[in-house]
């Protein structure tokens, strides 16, 4: 038996809408089987995963905090991937952005005023964009594979942050522990609704960025250029678009957004620099970008869903004693099912039996 794909003449509107639900249903079934095998009630487990974190307002705030960096980074990555530029170093751009933005509150703690925060955000964007420009430059000038250079630069950024926080930028009043001084009040990203939870403006940035980039990609000439150069570089050249400029545009846009995510995270949720400031947001965002089908609005949804699985995983650990590994396996299953089901949008699927008799036909 084998699977046969038949290209649809155009995207299936039906499956565009339905495939996430099919994937969710498959995940629920597979998850239920796994939880039963582990001796836990599958209904309880699924409840804690998907419903429990949404029941309380403070928890919704936490969801926004967790989703904000994922969405911000993924939106930028979507532009990269649409234009066929493979930036997988957003984690490094996130870190460098956070460091660039933190220069003011760390080195000039007495420089205070309402203008500090906007400056920090700008410096964060600039830092991320500059770091993103390195693989772009190497790709354009030396034809160097950007997947690898951007990935290597992640490790370099992590070690650089580690060194700065343990050395030159260490808090002079912090008992020599590896962290910088805490940011002063003017350098803290304000919370949206302080009375009900901790969510900060970072989430607002994420939503705004998604909307702006969505407009850019779908409604402007630049967006057209992105998509043409991405799907067919030759056609793009004939149309007079510069592939080289596009490399820089895509990398600096996604680097800038990753940098904004970095400085928002540091000035909002953390309040200082530490040796590690991201639990892998830059990598998780790649998955978010594809789950959202590289559509900035879809990325808002996929970012929230991935964030929900983290929160739900904790709820399941606490309430059912499910191990953290189960949480990750469950996430992996969800991703596989979503990726697999999205194929239905572009292709019909036929299972061909040994006698070449069509067994199942997907609409």
């Amino acid at each position: 038996m084998r699977v046969e794909l038949i290209k649809r003449p155009q995207q299936s509107a039906l499956f565009s809408a339905v495939s996430p639900f099919i994937a969710l249903a498959l995940t629920l079934v597979a998850g239920a089987i796994m939880f039963s095998l582990l001796g836990k009630s599958p209904l309880d487990a699924l409840y804690y995963y998907f419903i429990d974190p949404l029941r309380e307002v403070w928890s919704l705030h936490e969801l926004a905090i967790k989703a904000a960096p994922l969405i911000l980074i993924a939106v930028g990555l979507a532009v990269c991937y649409l234009s066929n530029n493979w930036n997988i170093g957003a984690e490094g751009q996130f870190i460098i952005g956070a460091m660039a933005g933190s220069i003011l509150p760390i080195i000039f703690p007495d420089f205070q005023g309402w203008y500090v925060l906007p400056l920090m955000l700008l410096m964060g964007i600039a830092g991320g964009a500059a770091y993103g420009a390195i693989p772009a430059l190497l790709k354009v000038r030396f034809n160097t594979n950007e997947i690898l250079t951007s990935l290597m630069l992640v490790y370099v950024a992590q070690l650089f942050l580690d060194w700065m926080v343990r050395g030159p930028w260490r808090n002079p009043e912090g008992n020599n522990f590896p962290e910088t001084r805490r940011f002063h009040v003017d350098a803290i990203l304000p919370e949206i609704l302080p009375s009900s939870g901790r969510a900060n403006l970072g989430f607002v940035f994420a939503i705004l960025a998604a909307i702006v980039v969505w407009f850019l990609v779908t409604r402007t000439l630049k967006g057209f250029e992105v998509r043409v150069l991405g799907s067919s570089p030759r056609a793009g050249r004939f149309a007079g678009f510069s592939a080289k400029k596009m490399v820089f545009f895509a990398f600096m846009l996604s680097g800038g957004l990753a940098g904004l995510a970095g400085i928002s995270e540091v000035s909002g949720a953390i309040g200082q620099l530490r040796p590690v400031i991201s639990p892998g947001y830059g990598f998780a965002a790649i998955i978010v970008a594809f789950l959202g089908r590289l559509n900035p609005l879809g990325i808002i949804a996929s970012g929230l869903i991935l964030a929900l699985t983290y929160l739900g995983g904790e709820a399941a650990q606490i309430s059912l004693g499910l191990s953290d590994k189960v949480v990750r396996v469950f996430q992996g299953m969800l991703l596989f099912f979503v990726l697999g089901c999205d194929t239905l949008i572009h292709y019909r699927v036929r299972l061909v039996g040994f006698g070449a008799k069509p067994a199942v036909e997907g609409a």
């Binding site: 070690l159 590994k325 992996g332 991703l335 990726l339």
Partner: protein, 306 residues
């Protein structure tokens, strides 16, 4: 055993898992598929190798189990990207996520157990030769497999008909298909070979390098293997050179530290990555040379027309 010989042995041990995983990925990429799940397959190999060795008492069965599990686990990626045409980058990343979680579950009861070590070769007389004795005649079996793999893959890719076919698929899957070559079948085999190699590399970690199981024990080596493939511009012999260069830099920075020069360890630790970037730039500067070796269809999904 002299200090030079001992350092070279240490480098060989550090390089072997990188070399094996990278060689597997090289074959996969030569067929035009980019599997970013090396880390996940490697960690699955490590845990299954360890568990099988612990349960059966035979490290050899552990190696076998790691190879089989690596190949089977890669089938998950193969099915999705080849049969269902999902995006390879996202699927590979998901495979890594799944592998790290699943390996943690499988190995939960085996943490902290003293492992079995795959015995090293020892030939009386030859292994005791000065300088080269232990290097050539006294290493672990997986080291010899890694060298055999390097030679074997060189021979396969550049001296056999099947190797030529594989490369032609990687360069242009559409025209290969038009010539009647079973593109998908070839790619399935390549992906499984890559998985088997990653599994074997994992077994080296949990049965030779550090015979024990700890969660996430691959600690990013799968990613370095991926970098090595490009570093080597998809050439087996250069993968070998790259893996040993990387091993040498890693071990060298530890020695520099132990000598007490007081250079920031973070700077030393970032040297291998910076070196990789520099070498990448040097290699890829020559556009014609790179184009000749780079599989042109790399990362693009292929769906045969009927």
């Amino acid at each position: 055993m002299g200090i030079a010989e001992s350092i070279l042995l240490t480098i060989a041990t550090a390089a072997t898992p990188l070399l094996i995983a990278a060689l597997g990925e090289l074959v996969v990429e030569r067929s035009g598929v980019l599997n970013l799940g090396v880390e996940g397959m490697m960690v699955m190999g490590a845990v299954c190798g360890f568990v099988a060795a612990a349960l059966t008492g035979s490290p050899w069965l552990g190696v076998l189990a790691a190879i089989v599990v690596g190949a089977l686990f890669s089938l998950l990626f193969g099915f999705l990207t080849l049969s269902v045409a999902t995006n390879q980058v996202a699927t590979g990343l998901s495979l890594t996520l799944l592998g790290l979680g699943l390996s943690g579950m499988i190995g939960e009861g085996f943490v902290g157990q003293a492992g079995q070590k795959l015995p090293s070769l020892y030939i009386p007389g030859l292994s005791d030769l000065p300088l080269v004795g232990r290097l050539v005649f006294g290493q672990d079996p997986i080291f010899y497999m890694s060298i055999a793999l390097t030679v074997g893959i060189m021979w396969f890719l550049f001296r056999t008909r099947a190797g030529l076919t594989l490369r032609s698929i990687g360069d242009n899957h559409a025209s290969a298909h038009a010539l009647g070559i079973p593109v998908i079948a070839y790619r399935y085999l390549a992906v499984m070979f890559g998985g088997a190699c990653a599994g074997l590399a994992g077994a080296h970690l949990s049965l030779v390098y550090t015979p024990q199981w700890v969660e996430n024990m691959t600690a990013g080596r799968g990613w370095i293997a991926l970098a090595l493939v490009v570093f080597a511009s998809w050439r087996p012999l250069r993968v070998l050179a790259g893996a040993y260069l990387f091993g040498a830099v890693t071990i060298g920075q530890i020695h520099v530290q132990a000598l007490g020069y007081g250079i920031p360890s973070q700077l030393l630790s970032s040297l291998p990555y910076l070196a990789t970037i520099v070498v990448l730039v040097l290699i890829s500067r020559n556009r014609r040379l790179t184009m000749m070796n780079t599989p042109a269809s790399l990362g693009r999904a292929f769906v045969p027309d009927r």
